[in-house]
């Protein structure tokens, strides 16, 4: 069943991101209409994109204050997340990741290992990528936190998000919010000329990253599905500004027919 608030593909005007995405994928005219019908029949993925933006998450209910009696060493923190301020009472032990997920309904950031080993919980704190699973909420006073929910501007995706869609930079999607936050930060680091362990001579500034540099700088985000090649391609496209064809494409009618008759 199609969610009732979602107009059908024929009568619904496409958002800018969607138009762009389909242009990038080279899906025009009749095949675009067919494609959109297929997607809306399945009720999935591409069409859902514009709905998964900050607007939707901002409406999530705020967690009720816990009974202070139930908290050990309770602390008041004002968490500034994606431009909003959330006054919150937390146990001194509560990590930022748990505050986001369990208290504020911001479940975009994921818990993979909870020990700093996978990067699924990556968020931006004062513009720098950090691990929310090893960050105590108590240390976040007065800091600006950006999670994956805060990257899009209304229905306009962040260029990194759009590139991940275009290049299929994921399979299950579990590591994706962390990958995307990490990549957003990587672009800034590159603009500042920061170097890495694979930089030939760290005395030189590096502003144009090779794929090898991107791989090294993204090594803190593990992908169990192994979507690495597409992730690097997506990041390289945004970093270099040079549009690239995705490595995947839809099968043509002939190819589909051939595969049907082969069976």
């Amino acid at each position: 069943m199609k969610p009732s608030n979602q107009p059908s593909s024929q009568d619904r005007k496409l958002g800018k991101e969607e138009e762009q995405l389909l242009d990038d994928l080279g899906i025009f005219g009749q095949s675009r209409r067919t494609f959109l019908n297929q997607m809306s029949a399945a009720g999935i993925s591409l069409m859902a994109v514009p709905y998964f933006t900050s607007d939707m998450f901002a409406q999530a209910p705020k967690a009720p204050d816990l009974d202070p009696e139930s908290l050990l060493n309770a602390l008041e923190v004002n968490l500034k997340i994606n431009g909003d301020t959330y006054p919150l009472q937390v146990d001194s032990r509560m990590t930022l990741l748990d505050a986001l997920r369990e208290r504020l309904n911001l479940t975009g950031s994921k818990k993979g290992c909870d020990h700093g080993q996978c990067g699924a919980c990556t968020v931006l704190i004062d513009g720098k990528r950090k691990l929310s699973c090893l960050t105590l909420s108590a240390t976040c006073k007065d800091k600006e936190i950006t999670t994956v929910e805060g990257l899009a501007q209304g229905t306009d995706l962040h260029p990194v998000q759009a590139a991940f869609l275009k290049h299929d930079g994921f399979q299950c999607g579990y590591c994706t919010p962390g990958q995307i936050c990490s990549a957003v930060s990587l672009l800034d680091e590159a603009k500042r000329g920061e170097v890495s362990y694979v930089t030939e001579n760290v005395k030189d500034e590096v502003t144009q990253l090779s794929d090898k540099e991107i791989r090294e700088r993204m090594s803190g985000n593990i992908c169990r599905c192994g979507a690495y090649n597409n992730i690097v391609q997506a990041i390289q496209e945004v970093h270099s500004g040079k549009a690239e064809m995705p490595r995947w494409e839809f099968a043509t009618e002939q190819e589909l027919e051939a595969s049907r008759t082969a069976e």
Binding site: S92, T135, S182
Partner: protein, 329 residues
């Protein structure tokens, strides 16, 4: 994680006061090691004193032409600082070989020095470990010791120090500046900062309880051109070293004038190679000289049951680092 009280002092003096008043207290830097160990129930502090935002975030030039690195500045900012890259590229390279961008954005310079060993018995509370629980025995001595020490270990502990940054600091003859609760301060040469396990493996360093690291001093730059940090590990990024070598050379033509050398992950502390530094001085840079240097470096190695490979691997790592440092123009 066990309950603890959180404190956020606004000055070093306040932090030091607080620490001296309470038992079972830890300073909290970036938390990348301490919070992990608290989740593992290895560390069980009653109080955490946040020091990451204390104002030791500058990198300043010292009177004798060196640099002072603030203790609460993060690892990435330090490694990428213009003056560090220009004058101490060996330190930049070593620091950037560690962990990941995210972790280095959190990790403080002070915390990096005090990170604990990655010995698996230390992390597993159901296992014996003298470092975690003095007197319980050393699980690694006759157990899973493939990543343990080959130099300077004792029957009570065979762990290695995991930091990459510290290997470069040992090669560069850094000094650690610390403050005490009574307001006095002292300076500790890097080779005397970390200690060998002896019969007190619970003590990693010669720091007194409650002392606060405020800065790391680098002497005048000696190896701005010929440097290399070679890190050998089980995957090419985001892994601790099996063995590593930090090499700084001062060359005149093909002659080595001065050398700064240390090995990582072979002992309870960064393994400074003073005798090899002297051996290289005045010699021509060549493969045979470097191989002789590596023989000398591992002369006293004492492998355990499962880590003899570290000797051969270590020699080759050191030779490679020397070759690459010398070849830079």
């Amino acid at each position: 994680m066990r309950p603890f009280q959180f404190h956020c002092p606004s000055s070093a003096a306040e932090a030091l006061q607080k620490h001296s008043r309470d038992q079972k207290t830890h300073y909290l830097g970036g938390g990348t090691n301490l919070i992990d160990l608290m989740k593992e129930d290895v560390e069980r502090p009653d109080h955490l004193i946040e020091v990451a935002d204390l104002p030791f975030k500058e990198i300043t030039q010292t009177a004798n032409g060196g640099l002072m690195l603030g203790a609460t500045l993060n690892n990435n900012k330090t490694a990428n600082h213009r003056l560090v890259r220009k004058n101490f590229p060996l330190l930049t390279m070593a620091m950037l070989s560690a962990a990941t961008e995210q972790i280095r954005n959190m990790a403080t310079n002070g915390g990096n020095l005090l990170q604990r060993t990655r010995c698996p018995y230390y992390f597993e509370t159901s296992m014996p470990c003298n470092k975690r629980e003095p007197g319980s025995g050393c699980g690694a001595l006759n157990g899973a010791n493939s990543k343990s020490a080959i130099f300077g270990w004792s029957e009570s502990c065979v762990a290695t120090h995991p930091s990459d940054m510290c290997v470069a600091l040992a090669a560069l003859n850094a000094k650690v500046h610390v403050e005490q609760a009574d307001g006095s301060s002292r300076v500790i040469p890097f080779t005397e900062f970390h200690r060998l396990p002896g019969d007190q493996p619970e003590k990693d360093t010669n720091l007194e309880t409650g002392e606060l690291i405020t800065g790391i001093e680098l002497p005048k730059s000696e190896f701005p051109d010929h440097y290399y940090y070679y890190k050998v590990r089980e995957r090419s990024s985001y892994a601790f070293a099996l063995v590593s070598a930090a090499v700084g050379l001062q060359m005149q033509g093909n002659t080595i004038i001065k050398a700064g050398l240390a090995l990582g992950k072979v002992a309870h502390k960064p393994w400074k190679l003073e005798n090899v530094e002297r051996f290289l001085e005045g010699k021509e840079a060549s493969l045979s000289t470097f191989e002789a240097a590596a023989e000398l470096a591992f002369e006293d190695a004492q492998p355990l049951s499962k880590n003899e490979y570290k000797i051969e691997l270590g020699k080759k790592t050191l030779v490679q680092a020397l070759v690459r440092a010398a070849a830079r123009s």
